[in-house]
C-alpha cells in the first residue's frame, strides 16, 4: 500500500449552513461556509460535532461530497432511524445555523486529479457521497481519466444526486450504471444486487492502472470487494470505505 503524507494538527472550526438541499426523503445535502477550510482531497471525510446547551457533545464522521473549490464544502447525510446525530442534521439543522467540523481526515480513500488511470467507483446507498466528490473533482479538473460509477440503490426515489448524476452521464465523461435492489424504474427490468455478471458487463476489467473505490454499508462493501478480487482485480488497487451498521451482532 502506498504512503500518503497528511500530518497536521486538526482543530475544530465553526462553519455556517448556507443552504440545505433535499436529495431524497431521508437524505439532505448541507452546504457549509467554512472560512478557514484548509482544503481537501476528493474522498476525504471530516468530523461533525454537535453541542447541547449543557455542554453534552456528540460527533460523527461524514464524507465530503464536494470537490475543493474554495471555502464552501458540502456534506450529504442519510438519516439513520433512531440515530443520535444524523436525525439532527437531516431534520433540525437550518440555514444560518452554525456547525462545527474538524478535518479533512483520511489519506487513503482519495482520488487525485493527476492520476491518469481509469477509475471505477462502486457505491451503495449513502456510500455514493465520497464517490460524488471524486466525480466532481474529475469534472472540475477536466480529467480525461476514464471513469465509471456503479450505484446500487433500493429504488429510483433513493437516488442521491439524481439531477447532478444525470448531467454527468450526459456529458460523456462518466459512464453511469444504476443497480436497483428492490424496485426498478419502468423500462429497467433488472432488480437485484451487484453480482459477478453485472460487474463483468458494466465495470472496467482489471488493468494495471485501474483503481477501484468501493463505499457503502459493510455487507455491500464486503460482497463487492470479494467479487472484484475473484474477478482478478489486484486487492492493492481496490480501496474501500465502510460505513453503517453491519446488520448483525458480529
Amino acid at each position: 500500500m502506498e504512503r500518503t503524507a497528511v500530518r497536521r494538527r486538526l482543530t475544530w472550526q465553526a462553519g455556517t449552513v448556507t443552504e440545505i438541499r433535499e436529495e431524497t426523503a431521508t437524505a439532505r445535502t448541507i452546504v457549509l461556509d467554512l472560512p478557514d477550510w484548509p482544503g481537501h482531497l476528493a474522498g476525504q471525510h471530516l468530523d461533525v460535532r454537535l453541542t447541547a446547551p449543557d455542554g453534552y457533545r456528540a460527533s460523527r464522521s461524514y464524507s465530503i461530497a464536494s470537490a475543493w473549490t474554495g471555502s464552501t464544502i458540502e456534506l450529504t447525510v442519510e438519516q439513520v432511524p433512531d440515530g443520535e446525530v444524523s436525525p439532527y442534521l437531516v431534520d433540525v439543522l437550518k440555514v444560518g445555523d452554525p456547525l462545527e467540523v474538524r478535518g479533512p481526515v483520511g489519506g487513503w480513500f482519495v482520488w487525485r486529479p493527476d492520476s491518469a488511470g481509469p477509475i471505477q467507483l462502486i457505491g451503495g446507498g449513502s456510500g455514493v457521497v465520497p464517490l460524488m466528490a471524486m466525480l466532481r473533482e474529475h469534472a472540475h479538473a477536466s480529467s480525461t481519466a476514464p471513469a465509471r460509477l456503479l450505484y446500487s440503490v433500493r429504488r429510483p426515489t433513493s437516488v442521491i444526486y439524481a439531477a447532478d448524476l444525470k448531467k454527468l452521464a450526459m456529458s460523456d465523461d462518466v459512464d453511469l450504471t444504476f443497480v436497483y435492489t428492490r424496485e426498478a424504474p419502468p423500462g429497467e427490468p433488472r432488480v437485484g444486487r451487484v453480482d459477478a455478471e453485472l460487474l463483468a458487463a458494466k465495470a472496467f476489467a482489471p488493468t494495471d492502472d485501474l483503481t477501484t473505490y468501493v463505499c457503502g454499508p459493510t455487507p455491500f462493501v464486503e460482497a463487492v470487494a470479494d467479487l472484484l478480487v475473484a474477478a482478478g482485480h489486484d486487492p492493492a488497487r481496490v480501496r474501500t470505505e465502510r460505513f453503517g451498521p453491519t446488520g448483525g451482532p458480529r
Binding site: T4, W12, R57, A58, E84, P98, V105, P235, T240, R242
Partner: protein
Amino acid sequence: MGIVSPGFTGRRRSGTELPPGQYLTRDFPVLSAGPTPHIQPEHWEFSIATESGEVHKWDWPAFLKLPAEEITRDIHCVTRWSKLESEWKGVSLDTLFADVETSADFVMAHSYGGYTTNLPLDDLLDGQAWIAYEFEGDPLGAEHGGPARLLVPHLYFWKSAKWVRGLVLSDAEDLGFWETAGYHEYGDPWKEQRYAGD
C-alpha cells in the same frame, strides 16, 4: 469554548464507562482499507523480527500449541463505536516474546494485505496484548482479521492489526498505514488521541 448547536439535545446513550466521544454498539462494525484477505490457516505464518535481524517464526500448528488465554475487554474504534466486554481467545505477546532478545522501543505490525501499524513495545507486553484467533467462542472471521489478529484493547482498534503476519522491532519510531494518513501515532482512547496532534 465551543458553539451550541441550536435544537440539539443529544441521546446521552454512552455510559460513563466509555472513553470520551464514544458510543456503545452491540454490533461489530468492520472497517478496513481494502478487500478482506482470506488467509487459510495452513498458509498463515507469524514472525517477530528483532532490530538485529533475528527472526522468530510460528506456523499455525506451532501457534496453536502455545498456551492460550481467554480475554474479556472493552474495545474502542476511532470511528466512535465501543463494544463492552468482548470475548477473545489468543496467545499473549508475553508468551511470544519469551525468547526474543531485544532492546528496541518500537514495533511495526505487518498484516497480510499490506496493512501496517506502529506501537511502542511497552504497550504490547505485561498482559496488554495478544494474537487473538477466536471471538466469542468461534474462530475469528476473515472480515474481523481471521485467522488471527493483534489485540491491543487499551488503544484505538486500528492498532489491533487484522490478518497480522509479523512484528518488526526497531529503535526508531516509524509510522504505519493510518498513522501516515493523518491518524494519531499512539491512539489512547481515554485521551481521545484520534488524529495527528491530538
